[in-house]
């Protein structure tokens, strides 16, 4: 059963089409990345998933049923633009947001303390939000979206504006939540993050779906035709017929192979001519796939 399903969803604001006939589904228990450059329609899609706006046409289903506000208590949402009450104490704020999700004040307070410990910000608990650093505020917001232990976690650009240490902490937490069996959906414009974390992705561009599916499955659709190698000695093996183009950075080469070519013959020749310390057939990165797909489309 898909936890989230969008079917032919379309949303236009005045003249701008934000989302055009977008369809995808998110299976239960998956770690789903919603990808796309800025302004591609990620936030618009997410807002329709949680009923903040309604699609002009098409349908949105949550938990296998047509959208119903009652199910929002099963969703944790972290908006792209963070917002907390500046003058309010962190603990009061968390309890308040927890209560809005149907929690009892005592339970909310207990969980808030536990989470603050987990996110290493216990010292922030009695403070007012305005006294906190931006990174800390973001962690509070992150906690606020998780207090009610949602089955589906939707995060819009969760890592933006965080330093590497905190970004890793958040990533690890998301991975843990995923392991607990929760479905995680997050959007980002940084494709490298998705590659590490997600098992399923959906790539959109200008409101249109570009790619969707399992990460491995998508990657396998694209040929492994790039080789990275580090060597010492004669570089003449780069003229091998399987090489379409090559860049040699003084002993470190990036090679693009011809379509259908086998890297093994290149390796054989290289061994005979130079001392090889590294030879790797690279998977295409999402970024390359994106540029290739979108570039192809815009040309067409």
């Amino acid at each position: 059963m898909p936890i989230v399903e969008l079917q032919q969803v379309r949303k236009a604001y005045d003249t701008k089409i934000a989302v055009a006939d977008l369809s995808f589904r998110i299976e239960q228990g998956s770690m789903f990345g919603l990808l796309g450059p800025n302004g591609s329609g990620k936030t618009s899609s997410i807002r329709m998933m949680i009923g903040m706006t309604l699609p002009d046409s098409g349908t949105v289903s949550l938990f296998g049923q047509p959208f119903d506000r009652k199910n929002l208590h099963r969703v944790g949402y972290l908006p792209e633009e963070r917002g907390l009450y500046k003058k309010m104490k962190v603990i009061d704020q968390l309890v308040f947001l927890g209560q809005l999700h149907g929690l009892d004040a005592i339970v909310a307070s207990k969980r808030a303390h536990a989470w603050c410990e987990r996110m290493e910000i216990t010292e922030a608990i009695p403070k007012k939000t305005e006294e906190l650093s931006k990174g800390m505020q973001q962690k509070i917001q992150f906690i606020a979206s998780l207090l009610h232990e949602p089955e589906l976690i939707i995060m819009d650009e969760p890592f933006s504006g965080l330093d590497p240490v905190n970004a890793t902490l958040l990533q690890d937490t998301l991975v843990d939540l995923h392991k607990e069996g929760r479905t995680v959906l997050f959007s980002t414009h940084r494709m490298d993050q998705v590659e590490k974390l997600c098992d399923n992705i959906c790539l959109i561009h200008r409101g249109h779906l570009v790619l969707s599916g399992g990460m491995q499955e998508i990657k396998s659709r694209y040929p492994k035709n790039r080789v990275q190698m580090v060597f010492e000695g004669d570089a003449s093996f780069l003229d091998n017929p399987v090489v379409e183009s090559a860049k040699n950075y003084n002993g470190m080469a990036e090679i693009k192979l011809r379509e259908g070519a086998d890297a093994q013959s290149l390796l054989a020749e290289a061994i005979s001519k130079a001392r090889i310390s590294r030879f790797e057939v690279m998977e295409p990165t999402l970024e390359e796939i994106f540029i290739e797909t979108v570039g192809g489309r815009t040309d067409a």
Binding site: M52, T53, R69, V75, Y85, K86, L97
Partner: protein
């Protein structure tokens, strides 16, 4: 409902806990207390205790005046009489004025003809002392009138009886309708609403603008409906205002209760409000406040900054001020068609329907209808406000024009 309550509770507590709230809530009663103490001091002075001298060739007139000023209704002066004065007297009195032994003297010059009044010349130590002058003028009038009446042959007891103040009671058939107290109550209601709406209605609008800038709404909208948020804000922020007003009113009542009771007992102010009238006063005041706060919420949803809000300030109180024009026709004919129609317009209901209730009993269904209409209007306003708010904030972030507003209402 739970969400509305949670939002309202948060707004209320966050606001009540601020220092600004504490200070402004306490300052006004302190000022009121200070004012009362001040006016008590002034009041004891107002019952003039000046020391004056009357110079008159007419011994009888001077003594009567002395009697009136020393034991009269509103003066307890010390009065010396010099009768008759000579040219040296004036000089002596003037030097007494300079030495502050005297607050002033009254020089009476007898009339040339027997049927004319004598002429009076008042020389005070300080021309700013108008209370003493006032007391003397009143006393003179009384004394002169009494003298003339007695001169014309009236017995002194009849004169006393004649000079009693007059009291008029109003009664209407079957109903203790007191127009004066209805009128007082309606003015109190009007000014209370006007003040509270001006002071606190804008707070609702401000808190909604604040929510926009803090961007918390997006977190909230992931769980609750914008209508719930609006309703919570109106109730929460509104309650803060009501708390403050309640504290103020309570202090005012406590501080003035003594003199108020005295005034009522003394028969100067005749207030008769039935329990029914008080209940309707509270009901219509609260509904009116909610209604106007909802307008404020809609205004807050439309604009993005306090400056823009200032320009719309007048819209908020205009309907209320407009009701004042309807007061006179409604009072003269509280059951007429005009009065009935106006009292059902939600923006006018709190004032006009209340006025009708206190003047003549309107049919119960009209009262019920007016309340239902008000509640429906409040709901509609909140719905519109939340629409404008959600569409505006999620999509544009600018102040909409009127056609855009109408278009937004259709968005979902």
């Amino acid at each position: 409902m739970r969400n509305v309550w949670l939002i309202a509770k948060r707004e209320y507590l966050e606001r009540v806990r601020t220092k600004a709230f504490l200070v402004s809530t306490l300052m006004i009663p302190l000022l009121m207390g200070g004012g009362i103490v001040g006016s008590l001091i002034m009041g004891s002075k107002a019952k003039s205790t000046s020391h004056i001298t009357i110079v008159s060739p007419d011994q009888q007139l001077a003594t009567d005046l002395q009697q009136e000023l020393e034991h009269g209704k509103d003066s307890q002066m010390t009065v010396d009489v010099i009768s008759p004065g000579n040219s040296a007297t004036r000089a002596t009195l003037d030097s007494m004025l300079t030495d502050k032994q005297l607050d002033g003297y009254l020089w009476i010059t007898p009339a040339a003809h027997p049927n004319e009044r004598p002429s009076f010349s008042w020389t005070p130590r300080s021309t700013a002392d108008i209370t003493t002058k006032g007391s003397i003028t009143t006393a003179l009038k009384t004394v002169l009138m009494r003298e003339r009446l007695e001169h014309n042959g009236m017995v002194s007891r009849d004169v006393d009886a004649l000079m009693q103040p007059v009291k008029v009671d109003t009664t209407q058939a079957g109903k203790n309708a007191d127009t004066t107290s209805s009128f007082v109550a309606i003015y109190v209601l009007f000014f209370l609403m006007y003040m509270v709406i001006l002071l606190y209605g804008m707070n609702v609008a401000r808190s909604i603008i604040e929510e926009k800038t803090s961007r918390v709404f997006e977190v909230l909208l992931a769980t609750i409906r914008p209508e719930e948020m609006m309703a919570g804000k109106v109730i929460g922020v509104g309650s803060v205002g009501l708390t403050q007003v309640a504290v103020w009113l309570l202090t005012a009542v406590l501080l003035t209760s003594g003199s108020l009771m005295g005034a009522i007992a003394g028969g100067q102010v005749h207030v008769s409000l039935s329990a029914m009238q008080i209940i309707f006063f509270v009901v219509y005041f609260l509904l009116g406040f909610l209604l106007y706060s909802s307008i404020a919420a809609a205004l807050g949803a439309m604009v993005n900054s306090e400056q823009e809000l200032q320009q719309l300030n007048m819209i908020l109180v205009m309907p209320l001020a407009g009701c004042m024009f309807a007061l006179v026709p409604v009072i003269s004919n509280p059951s007429g068609t005009l009065a009935r129609v106006i009292s059902l317009i939600p923006f006018c209901t709190p004032l006009i329907m209340y006025l009708r209730i206190s003047l003549a009993t309107p049919p119960a269904w009209e009262i019920a209808l007016s309340i239902v209409l008000m509640i429906a209007t409040i709901y509609a306003l909140l719905w519109i406000a939340s629409r404008i708010y959600r569409v505006g904030i999620l999509m544009y972030g600018k102040r909409p024009s009127l056609p855009e507003l109408l278009r937004w209402l259709k968005y979902s």
